[in-house]
Amino acid sequence: MSTHITPTTCPFCGVGCQIQLHVENNRIMRVTADFTMPPNYGKLCVKGRFGTDFVHHPTRLKKPLIRKDIVPGRPFGKARRARSLAEDYREASWDEALDLVADTLVAIYRESGPDSLGTYCCAKATNEDNYIFQKLFRTLFGTNNIDHCSRLCHAGSVAGLMRTIGSAAMSNSIAEMENLDTFLVTGSNTTENHPVIALSLKKAVARGAKLIVVDPRRIELVEFATLWLQQRPGTDVAVFQAMANVIVSEGLYNAEYIAQHTEGFEEYAASLAPYTPEWAEKVTGVPAAKIRQAARMYAGAKVAALYWGMGISQSTHGADNATALVNLAMLCGHIGKYGGGLNPLRGQNNVQGCSDMGGLPNVLPGYRFVTDAAERSRFEAIWGVTLNPKPGLTAVEMVHAADRGQIRAMYVMGEDPMTSEPNLNHARHALEKLDFLVIQDIFANETALYGHVILPAASFAEKAGTFTNTERRVQRVRPALPPPGEARPDLDILLDLARRLERRLGVYVQPGWNYSGPAAVWAEVGQVAPEFRGITYERLEKHGIQYPCYDENDPGTLYLFADGVPRGKGKFWPLTFQEPVETPDAVYPLNLSTGRVLYHWHGGTLTRRSVLNDIYPEPIVEINPVDAAAIPVATGDLVRIASRRGEVVARVEVTDRSPIGTIFLPFHFVEAAANLLTLDALDPAAKIPDYKNAAVAITPAEEHGWNLVLE
């Protein structure tokens, strides 16, 4: 029996726990954690400790697949959903599959130009995968139509942070959490979505820290909170504006910080006048006295940190929500300190890294804007090609462009837009207009079944590279197993494809596409973006390092903005409160909030194929007892949930975790896809849809009609 232990990084959420895979005969038998290793110091959650068995699932993709009706040299039909892999696909060699991909992409590009290609890189793939992915499409095809699911999670936060302080990363570190003085958590069900971070937050409370929770749902952290502000869903801006109003009117602000580090205070302070706690009480339902208490607690703290998640960002005014938080922090000078800062908790294992690597339509690696001629020419010099100066389309915009016929081909690496996009019925129509859809994944998820070509990739346990966690810590990913069948690491696939493309296009990029491995790719990242230069694979052998890290003697950066914010002066933004795009009415009387649960992860592609599914096998909708009595339904009943856009059936759990008038439905379940119900209106600044507010109606259902087939 062959047995070994491979230290690597957990493939689930953005905490980036360090795990050890105990492998016997090529099977992960046990997962442990090193008690001396940041960021998790031996602690894990259910997903990391027990949920990695998906890598052994029999449905892993093992051979390249090509749709059966595709014959070389002959035209083929548009994307459409396959009946099943077995019925509609045939196995192919890598050569045949990659040549088909290269030929077809080049043909469409030559016919319709760079804007006819759309690509999704991957928040679950490594930094090296994503760096090469965006470099491939930017240099060979000249397109900036590159985005990933970050658009659907933290785009609101990014927009809010960029326009105020000029940096979107989480400013504090996990290591600081146990020693917090005062902190505010809003729109983050931390114990379920960042379970190991939540442990540190609970520890902080146990050690005497004050916690303010601002959340419509009675999440577990409420039990630990000093103060709980339960606002009506979608009224976050009103709560924070009113807190700011109190801080200004009672003179609790940090005048010294404001004078030294910010601009626009006078105008902003004046703009707060109408947003009194009494006004906010009417709008949000939070008692004015509680808003005052929260404002005084936050402003009066020696140092205070803000933590937020999807509840802030996933909104048609997500950018305003985040901006309101930044305004608060700047008012009190709770920025740039140990235990004081702005902390959007990143959802996926490498969503930070994928963005850092330029997996976005408007920026090159290291957040250099494509519109910045100087930066562009620096990259052009290194890469030896001319780059497109026009920002590309965002994720939802690409779907809309496909619907218009502007985007004809899409390349999707490891994402599942047919689960994660809002208003899925519309997304499906758009996808079905594509002339060519390439899927690169480890499983045939819902989107894959629309693909013309499906390329089998290696999982996190079968490849090397780095992930960057939510606290900017770059950490190693190490292979513990061989990939199944003919599956190949993403980087391998991309480089192979790039070599085939460069011959066809006659475009030659420096230094070519023959990297010796992920370490060589990472070295190039340090070359184009100096904030990563000090982080080398050798140094990462010991433990992860937090960027910025400029040279090999630089220990990395624990918390950001000690010397001021990147924008120079933080800019106060006056805001106006706006209601959600869709609110409950007589026909659709309840508000739908979607989100995640502890036992599943995102589109469910991985966790539905794991032992995790055994404990949470069905879509469950959480309904407040008052609403349940009015329908009437009880725990265990089936209900049909309908919005103006679609309907699903889910099983009821009656619980006061949900506030009266709002139901909660996790989006992990393809058989009851929550995004059939959501709407695809976008935040004007962030282009993020609202996953937390949609009007729905509930009726009892007899049968669920779920037919979950894992391909």
């Binding site: 442990t32 031996g42 602690k43 894990l44 052994h56 995790l612 055994d614």
Partner: protein
């Protein structure tokens, strides 16, 4: 020289002196329940547990004299006569090192037996015949890590056992299946269900 506020155990380690431990875990609150780490502090009526007692200037401490070794040996003998230590190699080593004879209490000495292994959830199993009551699982489930409080105690004295409230199956408790308890169990009383099934000879699924 030991740093101020250091425990005897920490001070001894920094001086290169080994003091054996069983329940102690470097990253959890020390509860001093096993008493294997006791040492003789001149002037103290009883032996003191090195894992919690703070060192003081000019203290005269014997970490390995006859009185100390007897206490350790007898505790190990009684433990081994009570619990299945077959998957606790570190304890086996200690038993040998202290010349402990668990058979001295006779073959009819009561053992702690809890019936079949508890397999009540998809993630881990609980085999309390192997449980030495080190408390680590209870602590990580409570204030040391998870703040979930799914684990407590049943029974008293020799019959003490780790249990859920009213011995309910795990899915009916507050357990969130983080498995941090499994991660600190020193004797194999808690282990992943996958490993447990594999050791039972259950087939490993297709790949």
């Amino acid at each position: 020289m030991a740093s101020p506020g250091a425990t005897i155990l920490e001070a001894a380690r920094s001086a290169g002196i080994t003091i054996p431990t069983v329940c102690y875990h470097d990253h959890l609150t020390a509860n001093a329940v096993c008493r294997i780490c006791v040492v003789e502090w001149m002037g103290s009526r009883t032996l003191v547990p090195a894992c919690v007692a703070k060192i003081q200037p000019n203290a005269r401490i014997y970490t390995d004299n006859e009185r100390v070794r007897t206490a350790r040996r007898v505790i190990l003998e009684m433990l081994a006569a009570t619990v299945d230590l077959s998957e606790a190699p570190e304890l086996q080593t200690l038993l040998a090192e202290y010349g402990a004879d668990p058979h001295r209490f006779g073959s009819d000495a009561a053992r702690r037996e809890h019936g079949p292994v508890k397999v009540d959830n998809p993630f881990y199993v609980r085999d309390y015949d192997k449980c030495i009551l080190c408390w680590r699982c209870v602590q990580v489930c409570a204030e040391d890590v998870q703040f979930t409080f799914a684990l407590g105690f049943n029974g008293r004295g020799f019959e003490t056992s780790i249990a859920t409230f009213f011995d309910r199956p795990m899915p009916e408790t507050t357990c969130v299946f983080c498995g941090n308890c499994v991660g600190v169990c020193p004797t194999g009383a808690l282990k992943g269900k996958r490993e447990y099934l594999a050791a039972q000879g259950a087939p490993i699924g297709p790949r």
